[in-house]
């Protein structure tokens, strides 16, 4: 947090090194978040790429009110939602590629290489309704409180807790054998 404030000062002054440090610090976390939210790695890479590029472009007007991690994570969540909305509008399901994570199906320009556990987790999460998936990912991956998630999803606290509980149950049954109660 304190380090971030200094990095932001350097970033706003146009220092390449500060931008580099911010990028190095958060790229993996943001990629992981986008992958678990989308269940598809190519689009997740696009989303995170766009988030970082937009962030870099905002140097002069950037003003941080909370934490930098929250800012970037919220940007990822919002962009994932836009992405899903665009796809739904175009009638795409986003599930057309059977093996969405295999390196062999992704061409030479790969950015994120997922380990087996993340592939399995993303596959299972993809089978949950999106709202449940978002609640679980924000809570588990970003340590966001239910109240914060409620604000993000513009839903009541009870609705969020319900989405979390149902989502968790289904996830556990999907990952049967991977996790133990």
């Amino acid at each position: 947090m304190m380090e971030d404030k200094l990095l932001i000062v350097g970033f706003k002054q146009g220092r390449r090194e500060a931008l580099r440090q911010i990028y190095d610090k958060y790229k993996v976390e943001m990629l992981k978040l986008a992958v678990v939210l989308l269940g598809e790695v190519n689009t997740a890479e696009d989303v995170v790429h766009d988030v970082f590029v937009k962030f870099a472009q905002s140097a002069h007007r950037f003003k941080l009110t909370g934490s930098l991690k929250s800012y970037l994570a919220t940007s990822v969540v919002n962009r994932v939602r836009n992405c899903r909305r665009d796809r739904l509008r175009r009638g795409e399901t986003g599930l057309e590629t059977p093996d969405r994570f295999a390196a062999s199906s992704r061409g030479p320009q790969q950015w994120a290489i997922l380990d087996e556990q993340l592939v399995r987790l993303s596959d299972a999460l993809r089978q949950l309704p999106y709202e449940q998936r978002e609640v679980i990912c924000c809570h588990m991956e970003l340590d966001m409180t239910f109240r914060e998630i409620a604000a993000l999803q513009r839903a009541s606290l009870n609705t969020i807790k319900g989405r979390y509980r149902y989502g968790l149950e289904k996830l556990r049954s999907l990952l049967n054998g991977e996790v133990t109660r």
Partner: protein
Amino acid sequence: MKPADDIRKLFKDAGLRVESSADEQVFEDMVQAQHGADENPKRVPDGWRRTMRNPITKIAIAAGIVIACTVGLFLWTGTGSGIALADVLTRIQQVSVYMYQMSGTASGQATTGTAIDQNVHATILLSQECGMKMTMEMTDPNGTTVTYHEQYILPHKKSMITIMPKHKKYMQIELDDTQLENIQKQNNDPGTMVKQILECERESLGKSTLDGIAVEGFRTTDPAYLGSMAGEVDARIWVDVKTQLPVRTEIDMQMGEMHMHAVAHDFEWNVSVDADEFEPVIPEDYTALSSTPLKMPATSEETALRGLRLAADLTGRYPEQLDVMTLTLYTEKLVTGDTPVAQKLRKNRAGLEREENIAKIAETIMPIQGIGIFYRFLTAERKDPAYYGEIVCPEDKELVLMRWKASDSEYRVIFGDLHAETVTAETLAELEAALPK
């Protein structure tokens, strides 16, 4: 265990890694976006990912690869990185003793204004157990030897010994554990170089042949390579494809008006040497520069403050940078230069016995070098140090001269008037925003 703990663990354990060349391209897109923001704030660059997804681009690239491979049948020796640089570091660390030659030049003008034009040739013998032995010869442009000395770093004796045949002298400096560790980290051997390149943005230079050996090259021009020094760098390393050990390293550095070029070559790995080779042989007629071993200043804030105070008292300003070369030339100018301060110091030393004279000189040199030692320690320990000697003067009582991380939540700051405070990062951010650009 809470009901969700198993799922949480799964989330935490699941991970990914990023592919370095794609990673660099994303970062370059960010840099372009940052710099292009003024000119066209509404435009978000498409970047490499969109470009690569474009089907027309894909076809064009595929065609290009076919053409390149066909045309290049007689020239192509392979592309891409067959060697992982991290493995090279492991291989070096597995070698118990090795030897190499180092040739270099330094030219131009130091930040202190001193003109430099010297050639260096050194033979370096490094042992995991016994330390380092280096013979170094410096010559001027006419080929006249300016300096010749042998230097030993002896971990078991916790000391650094330098023998100067030209003057029939030797000097022994005692090192504490931290200093010894720092010197070993910073002695710039090929292992250190690989380690530094690994921490920087880098590129593969592809495969080639060097002295009949199939090699693969790597390069970095990342300023992060220089650590605490400001300047430009171009470091290249060629690694034997078969043994995965370095064959040649080259480094060019431009720091202000000074240019340095160094080449390490003629590596001999796993050489057989006797431990006696690392025992300095001091002829009987050589005398010690100081009757007792000199002590390196402790690596501490107090040392840094003492050095900065001395610099301010003597010259009215602080060293511009804290790298070894800048500080060496800074102190050399104080000891042998023609400035009023140097003349005054010489006057003060006039008439002193040799031992006292050396002690007086050490009193000047050591604390000032101590600032650099402390700063390099902070850099090595990743304490996020910064130094603003170029823009902050002793009169600037509210400006940050130097800072480093003191704890997870606080920074230690030395101000222009040399008072020190521990502040929060928020406060430091405000203080640094007030620094003149």
